[in-house]
Amino acid sequence: MKNIIEVSNLKKYFGRGDKLVKAVDGISLEIHEKEIFGFLGPNGAGKTTSLRMIIGLLKPDVGEVSIMGNNPYKNGKKLKRELGIIPQSLTFYTDLTVEENLWFLAKIYDLPKDLAKDRIDSLISKVGLDEKRKQLARTLSGGLQRRLNLILGLIHDPSIILCDEPTPGLDPQSRAVVWDFIRDLPNQGKTVILTTHFMEEADRLSDRVAIIDNGKILVLDTPQKLKASIGEGDLVEFTLFRDDQHHLEKISNLLKGYNGIVDSFVSSGRIVIRALDVVPRLSKILNYMESENAVIENMKIRSTTLEDVFINLTGRALRD
């Protein structure tokens, strides 16, 4: 697979002394052509900072970025038509209409008029903004504003798209539109870098994911392999009536030795077990727990998520 972006030992620190923030602390990675590469990490992990450095909006303290063999700072000009951004914040002129925002960027990219018109029409209809095209951006609903934000970065048909948290606070319908839109980009020959703190988004969209925390990449692989790495099987979460830590730890430790249970641990006031073929064994497990005086209030079976991977690596949840 061809590498389209190579990043080595990228660092960016903000502030100094007590207030020193190691926003990005030595990340290295390669991004393949036509993949969706996800950065998954909690708030403040350094995702946006990394993205801004990769695209050349922010100068790294240390490290090298190479996009299609070019350094975005030194010969960024060659890359200008190749790169598109979908910023985390809603980045458009609120006092211009949907259409005017798109036309403005089309002019900035010096696109021929006919081409620009076709692109604008097709982008608008792809995200379902047809009826709102003459509406001022500020009067759109939050979800529609997100959709506009999404297509603005694509007016010049870039081959690499850096997409920073595309769906915060979106309703399921808008989210589905955005996800479908992004999912389809590699089919159009585009490479996508996506950041998110939303594990489902990273899981569903990314071909490969880098889990990032405190400016460092903890692991980097396909979502499947990452999930598999922490163990086989499904997870069951138990909420008990008696939820003091001591009691939970005790039950959890007892479960560890039980037949077929791969792992058991306490997380956020719940007991989580990992087991192979958990459903047929469930009644036995429940019986065993009851015999140990564990009164179950609630129970949930689910498959491994990237969140579990993150917890496994850091001991913290993605969203605290």
Partner: protein, 456 residues
């Protein structure tokens, strides 16, 4: 750089200006309000309506050269050369005396009370003169240099040569063979001094300048009409010096000043792009748009906005009773030429501030400070950078002060002289050039700083 890109930027900013809820009211109300406040404060009061200015004179002229003195002291000659300056006083103290006499009798042309314009005070030493100026006992002073007479003769001589192909003294010598040669290449500029940050000085300077300009014009062509000769002007000398109310005298400065405040509006627009929660400028920075195109586009759209505002400023002042006797079109043009400096403030503000409200406030307060520095409202200390070096008109100069580095200073001088005292383009050309050069320098530097700060 492409036209599409530049126009794209201009169109977007134009649309935003029109859509913004406060720009249009700001555009219309601000000029009216601005001029209105001053009208309200000053139109009915008597402040500044005493318009006899105290003029100090230091005549260092040693008059005619010895040879010429001997020649002129002959009574027969005096009789035969009646047209040549010959009174004993002029022979001794030089031809500047004539200027002083005319100044003494000068009156406002539209004044029923026949108030004299100048109250003349003679001084013997420059120390005394400086002291009186400092204490503001004098509004303005006129210094005739040691060789003023000789310089005038020298200028007259070369003027004749360039104009008619022979020297004036040759012409006279044809009739009076022992008439001495005129001195050649003598320099001696009349110097107008005073505190350039003192309103009374500015006003009286305008009056004095227009007088001297006209006087020089006439003395340059001496002798060519109807036998009147050399530097000798008589009662026919007519100049139009209208009297204005204090409010009217303030108006030209106010107009220029308002133009300087306008960037507060536009710097807000530029800063808008750096808002923390929506950095639209990021999209521009990763695009192929060059910094130059961005700057050109944003300059372009400021021009019509400025034209409208300037027009409204003029209109507002006319509606409130401003009746200038000068060339309004030229005045309007000068106001428009203040644009580069005004725009330069837009960019320097947008270079350093990312919050639109802060930027607006900074420019809003920064402009009055500039106004203060140019002495529009209060008197600022007189800090001389170059003595007697800034030309006012041909053969006249004043000190170049620290505040002269601000284009606004020159702009206000020029527009005031044009609107109030009907100066021609030629007469304000030095101020105009200084204003344009300085504005160009500021605009270039500030744009470069802006690009350095924002596009790197």
């Amino acid at each position: 750089m492409s036209r599409t890109q530049i126009l794209g930027i201009a169109k977007r900013m134009g649309t935003q200006t029109i859509r913004s809820t406060w720009t249009i009211p700001y555009l219309i109300i601000f000029p009216l309000f601005f001029i209105g406040v001053y009208w309200f404060a000053f139109s009915t009061s008597n402040i500044g309506n005493n318009q006899t200015f105290d003029l100090g004179i230091l005549n260092q002229d040693t008059g005619f050269g010895d040879e010429m003195k001997t020649f002129l002291n002959n009574e027969t000659i005096q009789h035969e050369m009646e047209w040549f300056p010959h009174s004993p006083e002029i022979i001794e103290k030089g031809i500047g005396i004539e200027v002083i006499y005319i100044l003494k009798d000068l009156q406002y042309t539209n004044d029923s009370e026949s108030e004299k314009i100048f109250n003349i005070h003679n001084f013997n030493t420059s120390n005394e003169l400086e002291l009186a100026l400092e204490k503001r006992d004098l509004d303005i002073a006129l210094v005739f240099p040691q060789n003023y007479t000789n310089a005038s003769l020298s200028i007259a001589n070369s003027y004749w040569f360039t104009e008619y192909g022979f020297f004036l003294h040759d012409l006279i010598q044809a009739n009076f063979s022992d008439f001495p040669d005129f001195p050649t290449s003598v320099n001696g500029t009349i110097q107008i001094t005073g505190d350039n940050n003192y309103l009374n000085y500015k006003i009286s300077n305008s009056i004095l300048s227009i007088f001297l300009n006209q006087y020089h014009d006439m003395s340059n062509i001496f002798g060519t009409t109807g036998g009147k000769l050399i530097l000798s002007l008589n009662e026919d000398f007519q100049i139009n010096i209208p009297k204005y109310s204090f409010f009217e005298m303030m108006v030209p400065g106010l107009i220029m000043f308002a133009i300087i405040i306008e960037p507060s509006l536009f710097s807000m627009f530029l800063c808008n792009e750096f808002k923390a929660d929506s950095r639209t400028f990021d999209r521009i920075r990763i695009s192929p748009l060059s910094p130059r195109s961005y700057v050109f586009g944003s300059l372009l759209i400021q021009i019509p906005i400025l034209l409208i505002q300037t027009f409204l400023l003029f209109l507002a002042s006319f509606l409130l009773g401003f009746q200038p006797h000068g060339n309004i079109v030229l005045g309007f043009l000068i106001a428009c030429l203040m644009f580069p400096f005004s725009a330069s403030l837009t960019y320097i503000t947008a270079a350093f501030f990312s919050d639109e409200n802060v930027a607006g406030t900074v420019t809003g307060f920064g402009a009055p400070i500039l106004g203060f520095m140019t002495g529009a409202f209060v008197d600022t200390p007189k800090i001389v950078l170059f003595r007697n070096s800034f030309p006012i008109a041909s053969g006249m100069a004043r000190d170049f002060l620290l505040w002269d580095l601000i284009p606004l200073t020159h702009g206000v001088n020029a527009i005031r002289q044009v609107l109030l005292y009907d100066f021609t383009l030629e007469m304000i050309i030095y101020d105009l050039i200084a204003m344009l050069i300085l504005s160009g320098v500021y605009l270039t530097i500030f744009i470069l700083i802006y690009i350095k700060m924002r596009f790197k």
